[in-house]
């Protein structure tokens, strides 16, 4: 790498030059507008850029705090841990990758599920975290969401799943990841037959096998503004059709225009909007 004085002044993402006198993490560059934002101000806005309304990444834990009533969350199936059924090795071993992701994120897996209250309404609640191997769905994510759906069916609870899964079905667990799509979808079909209300919330990013299974099966589908949502990745599409993709392709707004989501909901309104929809649909019939 060249070390010319001009290049060292360029800001390479992730390798920011430390500034003297400014505490680490006080400011953050917005991925949307590239402006430097006072972090506290964005955090007060639930991780939304005050300048451009870009919805930043939210961890599963923060999402739980944002959407559920304080202290009401009770986690289910926290003991489910990923295995390495294929003995998968690419440039590094999957088993190693799992350990690294677990220590980096503090999560066992890419999904956290359980129950809690939304404005005093009990719900079954699941969320995926895009920081853990792109929020991709392997056996554990599939199993957690399936159990969540089955329990929502048995306990007659509304089901809320917030997706942040750019990775789709997880490659490292091969065909077993693909089968999770069928497994969760089958559980949702039973839940549907029992009269359950499933609200699916799509956030940036929701792609591939996650978009092509539970995330698209909501009775009501919400999306955060400007999220990337789609089946095939934009690079794959570009490589296949070799023409420039239209502006705003595969965004929440694009999906709303084409009729695949019910509402675009800003993060600060998410809790109220979910509660309101639950009230319209009422209790599950017996």
């Amino acid at each position: 790498m060249s070390t010319s004085p001009i290049e060292t002044n360029l800001q390479v993402p992730g390798t920011r030059r430390p500034k003297r006198g400014v505490p680490e993490g006080l400011w953050q560059r917005c991925p949307g507008c590239q402006q430097t934002i006072f972090r506290k101000q964005a955090e007060r806005a639930l991780g939304v850029c005050p300048e451009c309304d870009y919805h930043w990444y939210v961890s599963a834990r923060d999402r739980i705090a944002q959407v559920l009533d304080e202290g009401t969350f009770e986690e289910w199936d926290a003991g489910l841990m990923p295995a390495d059924p294929l003995g998968f090795v690419d440039k590094s071993a999957y088993a190693e990758k799992l350990k690294n992701e677990q220590s980096r994120t503090g999560l066992n897996e890419a999904a956290v599920v359980g129950t809690g209250m939304i404005r005093a309404r009990r719900v079954a609640f699941g969320v995926t975290d895009s920081a853990f191997i792109m929020g991709s769905m392997g056996s554990v994510v599939g199993e957690k969401l399936t159990r969540l759906t089955e329990r929502a069916t048995a306990d007659r609870l509304p089901l809320i799943i917030i997706s942040a899964s750019g990775g789709g079905a997880r490659m490292h667990e091969g065909i077993l990841s693909l089968m999770q799509m069928a497994k969760v979808s089958a559980a949702l079909a039973r839940y549907d037959a029992a009269g359950g209300l499933f609200i699916s919330v799509l956030t940036n990013p929701t792609m591939g096998g996650v978009a092509a299974s539970f995330a698209s099966l909501g009775d009501i589908i919400f999306a955060e503004p400007k999220a990337l949502i789609g089946f095939a990745g934009p690079r794959t599409i570009q490589a296949t059709i070799r023409i420039e993709l239209p502006k705003g392709f595969q965004t929440s707004e694009f999906l709303l225009e084409h009729g695949y989501i019910d509402r675009i909901v800003r993060r600060c309104d998410l809790k109220s909007e979910i509660a309101r929809s639950i009230d319209y649909c009422g209790k599950m019939p017996r």
Binding site: E75, W76, A78, G79, L80, M81, P82, A83, P85, L86, F88, D90, K91, N108, G138, S139, V140, G142, E143, A169, R170, M171, E173, G174, I175, L176, L178, M179, Q180, M181, A182, K183, S185, A186, A187, L188, A189, R190, D192, A193, G209, A211, A212, S213, F214, A215, S216, L217, G230, F231, A232, G233, I237, T240, I241, L245, F249, Q250, H258, Y260
Partner: protein
């Protein structure tokens, strides 16, 4: 003199012997020695086919699964079924040529056949995007399956696709949504469903018609969460590592049987299905009739319950004993 005509490196010894057989057969001789020679070469050929095809590397399996002369859905429609009445269109947007659907008869059973079609000629391949279906294809498939269920016709799905089509129109018309919807509805469709991966089982595009009471695959087919090229591009940062990715993904019939994802593997003729369409079709027919005998007549609720349980147990994970509600 016939030339050794082989498509893949690993087939070279087979095609060389095939060329020898042709040469010997082209000049028939009463000479006992010549006849003995022909017998010897033929024996050799069979041994070589057996040796090569029982030891295919995962990447070689992918190549065989993509062989352009491999029997496709239309070949099975011609060779296995007594009749095929094509039903076109999704009654919403169009008629996807990458998905063929219609009534068919097999051994006295009336069924609904759904199948990906890759195309035989360049023109046909372009018309059906090399077997990559669009949302209208999946919508059509589901509509015909629902029709079948209404009249208690069993559904037979032939899976043979590199994947659902990645394009602007496909995204605009809800590719993700239709695949999800198909799995959702297939999981509770009140009629028998038999799914067979005949060539390429490419990801969501395959699974979109792949939820059934019986899921089988041909010996040299593959079924995978992603194409080896796609996986290599993402994890190895270059599609030239497709060979390594094919091995890592464990996508061959033997592995899938071991993982409990497919119920049965249908053996191919010696040297692969592309060498003998008729024998392959005969085995296909035998398998389908066996499944139909087993499934037809079962209560639809029993079928649907068993289908649920079958997919319910898929996946491998560890479970630590943990009291309810504690944090990990």
């Amino acid at each position: 003199m016939p030339v050794a005509n082989h498509r893949f490196g690993f087939e070279r010894p087979i095609s060389e012997l095939e060329a020898q057989v042709q040469t010997l057969e082209a000049s028939p001789s009463d000479d006992a020695e010549a006849r003995e020679e022909l017998r010897r070469v033929k024996r050799d050929l069979a041994d070589t086919k057996r040796r090569v095809y029982s030891n295919l590397a995962p990447w070689e399996t992918v190549q065989v699964a993509r062989h352009p002369e491999r029997p496709m859905t239309t070949d099975y429609l011609n060779l296995v079924f007594d009749e095929f009445v094509e039903l076109h269109g999704d009654k919403f947007f169009g008629d996807d040529r990458a998905m063929r659907t219609g009534f068919a008869k097999i051994d006295g059973y009336k069924v609904m056949v759904i199948g990906h079609q890759k195309g035989k000629t360049t023109k046909e391949r372009i018309a059906c995007y090399h077997g990559c279906a669009h949302p209208e294809g999946y919508r059509k498939a589901l509509a015909k399956m629902k029709l079948a269920a209404k009249y208690q016709l069993p559904v037979i799905c032939f899976i043979d696709t590199p994947g659902a089509y990645p394009g602007i129109g496909a995204e605009e018309r809800g590719q993700a949504q239709v695949i999800a919807q198909n799995m959702f509805e297939m999981s509770r469709l009140p009629t028998p469903i038999i799914c067979i991966v005949i060539g390429e089982g490419g990801s969501g595009g395959a699974l979109g018609i792949g939820v059934g009471d019986k899921v089988a695959m041909l010996e040299h087919a593959y079924y995978s969460v992603i194409s080896p090229e796609g996986c290599a591009g993402i994890l190895w940062k270059s599609s030239t590592y497709a060979e390594q990715a094919a091995a890592a993904l464990k996508m061959t019939s033997k592995h899938l049987l071991g993982l409990g994802v497919v119920d049965d593997v249908i053996e191919e003729p010696l040297g692969g299905a592309h060498r003998d369409h008729h024998q392959m079709a005969a085995r296909m027919k035998m398998y389908l009739v066996k499944c139909l005998k087993e499934l037809v007549g079962q209560k639809s609720q029993t079928l649907v319950d068993k289908r649920y349980d079958k997919f319910r147990q898929m996946g491998v994970f560890l479970e630590a004993a943990m009291a309810e509600g504690t944090e990990a």
